[in-house]
Amino acid sequence: MKNRIGFIMKIMVCFMLILPISGCWSRHELNSLSFVVGVGLDKAEKPGEIQLTTQVVKPGELKSSSAKNKSSESGTNAYWNIKKTGYLASEIIKDFSHESSHKLYFPHNQVLIFERKLAEEGMQPYIDTFIRDIETRFNVLVVVSEDRASEVLDVSTGLEKLPAINIAKLVETQKITSESPTVKLIDFIRRLMSKTTAPIAPLIRVTGEGNEKTLEVFGTAVFKHDKLVGELNKRETRGLLWVINEVKGGMINVASSSGDGTVSLEITRAKSKMTPVIQADTILIKIDIKAEGIVNSQSGSENIASPDIVFSLEKKLSAEIGKEIMAALKTARDLNSDIFGFGDSIYWKYPSEWKKLKMKWDEVFPDVEVALNIDTKLRSTGNISAPAVPAKE
């Protein structure tokens, strides 16, 4: 009995000794962390150096500034942009502790912005830290900006208090028009790791002057391996998205069949499939696209609710889609970068042939032929069938 008591006493003393000695190593109180919501990388003046901008949230201001608009120019922003220059992203991140009183905390980062000039030199050395570091997550959005990333991160808008969250939501909203892709870091990595498929990223720029600055997402940045080589405009981007099955919405204008104005068709659903066919010495890629749409508006006055007219509208729509795809294809061929993933689809179907092809893919790619097969259906004409004009007799 007394042995037991002695034993228990010894254990308790050991535990009590441990508590003051150990401390909790990984403990970070909420008010000792600064939450990074946006990261931007720019070229710095010195060659080889980059400037890293991180946008850090001030949570107290977030709550209290709900009543204020962006008309307040005084520094009661809910965020704080810190900038530093250095050679590698990782050392700059650690360097921030010289200026910020709190440790930077990355898991809530929403967006990674790369300046275009930096992307043209190659992203691999800078993007590796965001993949390898355990704090950063893979569903961060990757964006390329025409202007300097630090400026982009400074544009505050009327809807959101934090510019980085605004950018993230802006990129996500592109699904309405499908004229810009939504690229998460994991998608970017997947394309980076592929030998043939080229990475893409949405392009963003600052428009307006002074207090009226806004952001605009326009088009796609096309890379080859990790260097930026060109861009696709909005229409070409949609063509690209048709092929890679990422179109979720959009508006296409076709001329009305009786020549009386234009009809706007809204895409509601789209699905695409790529099938490679290797014949003798040519490679053919068959692209099947099925799209559904509804009539959104009509500037003429004819009654488009008859099946013939709908049928002709569908054919016009298919033709438009085909034009968009061909435009994208032309730009891709000019830039010689396989943004569609033709190489991968050949690999999936013909692995043995692929081994020979992948060495000379750069020469083969521009000669790849594409056969389109587009099938559209217009399911409804909206609220009304004939337009609101006096009926024709």
């Binding site: 190593w25 569903n139 997947r190 690999y347 999936w348």
Partner: protein, 360 residues
């Protein structure tokens, strides 16, 4: 002479085997570096190859009912050689327990608490394992029943939550795997998750109905293997080619779950899973070591050995590998051969027993 007064039923044995196999559900991911996107194939083939080995273990224990591995060795190999063989087995169990603990503490340190020294995590975890082992096999079996149900539930939930992010093209092309890689992958899969059930040869004498052991073991293997398959399929489907460069693809794929902004950031689930599964594995290995030493030295009870062996396992886990790179390298290259020796020798034992017509 029984070292342990507890008895477990055959259904509890099934859950124990399933939990043990599931202990490697996250560890099995390092075959991704070898087999790229065909890991699921290799899981199936590994399972297929390990079922006959499991049947050999069951046959061995049926031949010598009520006797555990050390005693069987003694009968088959004679008094002197058997001591060497049993000692080697005990060392094997102990070192595998140390490796698993090392992997667990390294992963937890990386993903959850980067500044915590490995020591603290190892000690806390080993305390729990030591407590369980000290309480005996009944407690181990009962906890494993509940934990296995939790683990399978979590695996299924994460699978369904990630259905919308899966792309079947990540599995194509079919069978573009070189034979050498396939065999290496099967070898790794067979030895590391599946055939480590050789430690159950120490636990079979405590199952109440010996005739149902075969069914329980095979079912347990299938349940465990099926869950590993689901997990691997999910990882490959979601991450695609990127899963080959990741250290821990299960955690990364669960990080991508993002449903309606609410069901998001669920990697806690996976890490808890890892904790629970690894707990069962380390406890069973720990228990096998302790029982083995007690039997080898003819002790009456194993309880006094629990704490010392625990401290040895903690030290082993911290000393063996200097870095995760080294442990991954070991696991893909040297480990399979090392473990194959121990997992294959019961076959030799069975043959020798048959030849010598034992037990008389």
């Amino acid at each position: 002479m029984r070292l342990e007064k507890g008895i477990i039923s055959s259904s509890q044995l099934m859950f124990l085997v399933a939990g043990y196999v599931l202990g490697s559900v996250l560890v099995a991911a390092f075959t991704n570096t070898v087999t790229k996107q065909y890991t699921w194939l290799v899981v199936l083939s590994g399972l297929a190859v390990s079922i006959p080995l499991a049947l050999v273990y069951v046959a061995l224990t049926r031949k010598f009912p009520g006797k555990d591995l050390v005693q069987i060795n003694r009968i088959v190999y004679g008094p002197y050689l058997s001591k060497l063989v049993s000692a080697l087995y005990i060392w094997f169990f102990c070192s595998i327990a140390g490796f698993m603990l090392a992997y667990l503490s390294q992963t937890i340190k990386d993903y959850m608490m980067p500044e915590t020294p490995l020591f603290a995590i190892c000690i806390l975890f080993t305390c729990i394992c030591a407590w369980t082992v000290r309480n005996g096999i009944e407690v181990l079996a009962r906890t494993s029943v509940i934990f296995v149900m939790i683990i399978i539930f979590v695996i299924l939930i994460t699978f369904f939550l990630l259905l919308k992010d899966m792309e079947l093209t990540n599995f194509l092309p079919f069978f573009d795997l070189s034979l050498k890689d396939f065999i290496q992958g099967t070898h790794i899969m067979m030895t590391l998750p599946f055939c480590e059930i050789v430690v159950f040869l120490m636990l079979f004498p405590y199952v109440n109905k010996g005739v149902e052991t075969k069914k329980s073991v095979i079912l347990g293997l299938l349940i465990g293997g099926g869950s590993i398959l689901i997990d691997t399929v999910r990882n490959t489907a979601v991450l695609g080619v990127a899963s080959t460069i990741m250290i821990s693809p299960s955690i990364e794929s669960v990080r991508l779950i993002d449903l309606a902004e609410i069901i998001t950031r669920l990697e806690m689930l996976v890490i808890t899973l890892l904790l629970i599964a690894m707990f069962i594995k380390v406890s069973v290995m720990y228990y096998g070591t302790v029982l083995g030493i007690a039997r080898l030295c003819n002790l009456r009870s194993y309880r006094q050995l629990v704490l010392p062996i625990g401290s040895i396992i903690v030290s082993l886990s911290m000393m063996t590998f200097d870095s995760l790179a080294q442990s991954n390298d070991f696991a893909t290259r040297t480990g399979p051969f090392f473990t194959l020796v121990f997992e294959f020798s019961p076959v030799i034992t069975l043959l020798v027993a048959k030849i010598r017509k034992l037990p008389k």
